[in-house]
């Protein structure tokens, strides 16, 4: 294994009850990169993370953290974790919770640094139960980063955060990544993956059906979207060659095509009044839809 690899699944398979939750998954996280694991509910994202964290053991293949089994304390001392649900003790204060998790690490961040990074300075004296849902998420994030991790696991980190907290959160992640921290992220918010991730893996029914850079994933979808304000009817445009689908949203037409240039020529020729023309490559959402449809 090369030294740049911080986490790895090799041929990993895992049965959960009657369901094959994960099958023959190969996945490698390099030092310093942000890797987003995407896929519909039940695709195996949480199982994959649980294998990497050592919460579950694979039935087939293996999981490695820094070249060691994830159960090894020496490996886990180099990671930070934020899970989807973690009901921390209600009656302890934020400062006490931080002290507890900081005590697990050899050289933790100072309390002041963690509080500043996570934006929780005013909350340190408060008991956990008194916090709002968004504030609790920020405390959970603070616990994840307090040990100066080289690899950070974030399972649906921004669920329950408002837009402003989310953007603040993204800025902090970028800061940590600039400092050399790698991140494994699962999220339902595609804009989150687009904002943060360098590489994306798409899980579907327990299999890794696509993996690559953000651009490579987007390019998996050959389509382009054309949007414009036009008086042409959807039926009329749908009859043209190379047009995959047409939808009307108010006065705007929304056309999907694998090859936009011939369609554009026809459009401009057919409607002299046409305006507000936009051509876009399909976004991550469309790419995921296509990939998961192909895989199903």
């Amino acid at each position: 294994m090369n030294t740049q690899t911080v986490a790895q699944l090799r041929g990993a398979g895992k049965q959960r009850g009657a369901i094959q939750a994960l099958a023959e998954v190969d996945l490698t996280i390099a030092a310093g990169e942000v890797y987003a694991l995407l896929g519909p509910n039940g695709a195996g994202k949480t199982t994959a993370i649980s294998l990497l964290l050592g919460l579950l053991r694979p039935d087939a293949g293996e999981a490695r953290l820094f070249g060691l089994p994830p159960q090894d304390l020496a490996a886990r001392r180099r990671i930070g974790v934020m899970l989807q649900s973690a009901g921390l003790p209600d009656t302890l204060t934020v400062a006490e919770l931080l002290a507890q998790v900081r005590s697990y690490y050899a050289q933790p961040r100072s309390l002041a640094d963690v509080a500043a990074l996570a934006g929780i300075e005013p909350l340190l004296g408060a008991r956990y139960a008194q916090l709002s849902g968004g504030q609790q998420r920020r405390v959970q994030f603070a616990l994840a980063i307090c040990g100066r991790p080289e690899l950070l696991f974030l399972d649906e980190p921004t669920v329950g955060m408002d837009t402003e907290s989310r953007e603040q959160f993204w800025r902090t992640i970028r800061e940590l990544v600039a400092g050399g921290c790698a991140v494994v992220l699962t999220t339902h918010y595609l804009e989150e993956a687009e904002a943060l991730a360098q590489r994306i893996g798409v899980l579907m029914l327990g299999r890794l059906v696509a993996e690559g850079s953000l651009d490579a994933i987007r390019a998996r979808v050959g389509q382009r979207q054309i949007r414009c304000v036009s008086s042409l009817s959807a039926e009329q445009v749908r009859a043209w060659p190379l047009v995959q689908s047409v939808q009307r949203e108010g006065e705007r037409l929304h056309i999907v095509t694998p090859q936009p240039e011939p369609v554009l020529r026809e459009l401009l020729a057919a409607d002299a009044q046409l305006r507000d023309l936009e051509v876009q490559r399909a976004g991550l959402a469309e790419a995921l839809q296509t990939i998961t449809r192909e895989a199903a």
Binding site: A74, R76, I79, V81, L83, T91, L92, A99, S103, F153
Partner: protein
């Protein structure tokens, strides 16, 4: 196989963990108030106020030993039973296992908490007994009762851990009470067993609380049935067997 790490980080962390576990429960009134107050209140009521003067058995002395058992059962049963069940439900156990928590911390912190609560409860009962209960004991007898009860909390920690590995957080308080209160009655903690049917007296050897109570009576010079060595052996075997069963269940994958 992973080896158990107990280095300097783990030792410092364990001390903090024990303190926080104690604070957590001290700030939980539904636990702290009954656990600290009930044994003393019941003892005052039944051992001192309602005791017939001149009764053949010295009620205040008998109940001081048995209410100590009743008292030290609670931190183990509730602290472990309800605590573990709730923390399993809420995903906290998973988070702590994913974080680099030293493996001994989870149980170690809770054990220290239970023994500290046990020490406080026995001390309160002994002070009450020595003052308003007019119980007179040798210094060595006081000390042996104290040490016995602090370690006597351990079998109930194991039992609590096992309960916590079976039931969810919602059901745990009810399940714990359904074990705690009948066992207290059937072990003769509230009144001597010879007031109950013979069959119940015969069954008493099954309950760890009965064995601890016999040891408590012996330590305070009140005889107690059976041999000290046999009671100690039973409690040690019970603690290890139940504790290992619980640990195996908790290490299983969800």
């Amino acid at each position: 196989m992973t080896t158990t790490t107990f280095d300097a980080i783990a030792r410092r962390s364990l001390a903090l963990e024990a303190r926080l576990e104690f604070l957590r429960l001290l700030r939980t009134p539904s636990f702290a108030v009954p656990a600290l107050a009930f044994p003393v209140l019941f003892y005052l009521l039944f051992g001192v106020l309602l005791a017939k003067p001149g009764s053949a058995m010295r009620v205040a002395q008998y109940l001081m030993a048995t209410y100590s058992v009743f008292g030290v059962m609670a931190p183990g049963l509730f602290g472990f039973g309800v605590g573990v069940a709730t923390e399993r439900d809420k995903g906290l156990l998973a988070l702590r296992r994913a974080l680099p928590m030293p493996p001994l911390n989870y149980v170690g912190g809770k054990l220290a908490m239970a023994m500290l609560f046990a020490a406080i409860i026995v001390t309160l009962l002994c002070i009450t007994g020595a003052t308003v209960g007019a119980v007179h004991l040798e210094v060595t007898q006081w000390l042996s009762l104290f040490v016995l009860m602090v370690f006597g909390a351990l079998p109930f920690c194991a039992l609590g851990l096992l309960i916590g590995s079976f039931v969810n957080g919602q059901a745990a308080p009810a399940v714990v009470n359904l074990i705690y209160l009948p066992m207290a009655l059937l072990s003769g903690l509230w009144f001597p067993l010879n007031l109950l049917p013979l069959a119940i007296q015969k069954l008493a050897v099954l309950w760890p609380a009965w064995h601890l109570a016999q040891l408590g009576l012996a330590a305070t010079g009140q005889g107690g049935e059976g041999s000290v060595a046999a009671h100690l052996l039973y409690l040690a075997v019970f603690t290890v067997a139940v504790g290992r069963w619980a640990a195996r269940r908790l290490q299983r994958e969800p």
